[in-house]
């Protein structure tokens, strides 16, 4: 985990998008991305899917409710 997520994000967003940090609340929400980073770290290795082509729309159809009501 980077020690200063806020500074890293500020530089990254300015560099890539030309967007400046708009307010203090943005800084706080950016700091909270540390939780997202932690979430991705926790997920690593926990999901054992083959990296084959997949489609979310196809998954919706493959898992659909087949007992048509009414």
């Amino acid at each position: 985990m980077p020690e200063d997520v806020e500074a890293m994000i500020e530089q990254q967003v300015k560099t890539w998008f030309g967007v400046a940090v708009p307010n203090e609340q943005a800084r706080e929400m950016a700091r909270q991305l540390a939780g997202v980073i932690e979430g991705f770290r926790a997920v690593r290795g926990s999901i054992a899917f083959e990296d084959e082509p997949s489609s979310f729309e196809a998954a919706l159809l493959a898992t659909k409710d087949r007992e048509l009501l009414p």
Binding site: I9, V19, E28, F40, S46, S54, F56, T63, K64, D65
Partner: protein, 494 residues
């Protein structure tokens, strides 16, 4: 030529048989529509009642952005003439509706609740709204909403916060704030909302009405302001599951203008409303959805599930797989997509956003593309694994729509800069946004009140394209209980 239905030859044709606008607006959408079809009341009477309600009572709620009174009354007169001639446009003939101000109508401003789009005049029309009007509905105006449909509370710095009809100090929920408030306050019979992370179900829950987001791809998004290409959904808020079922039947289905819309056939949802839940297996999650649930909320959900059990449903504890991944992935998809959509305005007009929205969008720029792609690429496989593990044992699973009591507007006012507001703001949508990642259909129905008199919502999920099953259970619940009939105290509307 517009298809029409034939009216029964015995239909009355003159003045309304029910006196008073409040009495008319106390009807449900389906009751009102069916009464118009039978010739018992007129479209003009319903529309006048709705317009008057907005004009006389909306001040404290601020649910309305624009009222199109003259145009609506002209449309109502035309529909009454048609009905007298024995023709009905469809199952919403003569029913006034109003919609979140993000559904495009050519020639009319479409603000999306924003300063940036205050003068935006789209050239094309929303498919969902067109389908509702083709079914005979009348559009009386445009409703307040969270700026660019991007907050779960209903705050709006540009048009003013929409306020909860049960107590105006409290959040309506967002982003379809005006839709829920206007339906709860009996200004209109139903409204379109949109749901990317809970924006239909949250305000439905907080305001005590019924709202459904269909399966991802179920309803065309053409002509609706985009927030997230992967997670946006169009859907209704109304008082009852039956009302929502009628609207969903009309708006769902393939649309050539929206290539992401599904070709799956649309069932007759109202025909599925048998009231019978005997043998229906209702999953009660062991994981995630009940974490740190408020005591009042937990008790209301428990009572709701017991009511369904007493009617013959089976309650089955279920474990939900991959919820940590679902919550993590689900937290970034719409943020990345919103950042992409708003990048130019965030560069050029950052001061035209409210504080909380620019703060929220800003973080989206910092999420690496590889994470975004990981989240999207695993969405299908996770859905398959989730469905295989959960829906082999249960038909639907239940959860509180919101784990906490309805928050006050002050508690969640991020723009104020007060400590704790961001956490309270983010917590509101914890249960809803994960469902958007999975793409499942999800409905919220009123199931009680907390100790302060604010509504509580029960949320039900089914397999993809299982909307009929949700409507059946929700309707059965509303036959067993009367939470959906409760009306907000009139002192809030004085």
């Amino acid at each position: 030529m517009t298809p029409t239905m034939t009216v029964a030859a015995t239909a009355k044709t003159d003045t309304p048989s029910v006196a008073g606008g409040a009495a008319l607006l106390a009807l449900s959408l389906t009751e009102a529509a069916d009464a118009v079809a039978r010739g018992e009341i007129t479209a003009v009477a319903l529309t006048q009642a709705s317009i008057q309600a907005f004009q006389q009572k909306d001040g404290p709620l601020n649910a309305l952005i624009r009222l199109d009174a003259e145009e609506a009354l002209e449309a109502a007169e035309g529909l009454d003439h048609l009905r007298k001639a024995g023709r009905l446009l469809g199952p919403l003939h003569g029913v006034p509706l109003a919609h979140k101000d993000m559904y495009y109508q050519p020639g009319k401003p479409n603000t999306a609740g924003s300063r940036i789009r205050r003068e935006f005049h789209p050239a094309h029309a929303s498919t969902a709204l067109q389908r509702l009007e083709a079914a005979g509905s009348i559009t009386v105006g445009a409703l307040n909403m969270a700026e660019f449909a991007q907050n779960p509370t209903g705050h709006n710095a540009h048009f003013g916060d929409c306020r909860n009809p049960w107590n105006t100090d409290y959040c309506t929920g967002g982003s379809s704030s005006g839709s829920a408030a206007a339906v709860a306050a009996r200004f209109i019979y139903a409204a379109l909302g949109s749901d990317t992370g809970g924006s239909i179900r949250l305000p439905a829950s907080l305001c005590g009405v019924t709202g459904i987001k269909g399966t991802q791809t179920r309803v065309s998004r053409y002509g609706a302001m985009p927030l997230s290409f992967s997670a946006d959904n169009v859907g209704p808020l109304a008082r009852t599951a039956r009302d929502c079922a009628r609207i969903m039947k009309i708006i769902a289905g393939q649309d050539a203008k929206d290539p992401t819309s599904s070709r799956e056939p649309v069932p007759d949802y109202e025909a599925a409303l048998t009231g019978d839940v005997r043998g229906v297996r209702i999953g009660v999650p062991r994981d995630y959805f009940f974490d740190d649930v408020d005591a009042d909320v937990g008790a209301a959900i428990d009572a709701a599930l017991k009511a369904l059990e007493a009617a013959g449903a089976k309650l089955i504890p279920v474990s939900l797989p991959y919820m940590e991944a679902v919550a993590t992935y689900g937290s970034i998809v719409s943020r990345c997509e919103a950042a992409a959509i708003h990048a130019e305005w965030m560069r050029d007009r950052p001061d035209d956003y409210s504080i909380h929205l620019s703060a929220r969008i800003y973080g989206g720029f910092a999420i690496p593309a590889a994470y975004y792609i990981e989240a999207l690429s695993r969405r299908g496989p996770i859905l398959k694994a989730f469905a295989d593990a959960v829906f082999c044992d249960v038909d639907v699973f239940a959860a509180p729509t919101v784990r906490s009591k309805v928050p006050t507007r002050a508690e969640t006012d991020v723009d104020s800069g007060r400590a704790g507001t961001i956490a309270a703001f983010n917590a509101v949508s914890a249960n809803t946004r994960v469902v958007n990642y999975l793409g499942l259909p999800s409905i919220s129905v009123p199931c009680g009140f907390d100790a302060r008199g604010l509504p509580i919502g029960l949320m039900l999920q089914a397999r993809p394209f299982g909307e009929a099953r949700l409507f059946r259970v929700a309707d059965a619940f509303q036959r067993l209980t009367d939470w959906h009939d409760a009306m907000p105290p009139t002192n809030a509307l004085a």
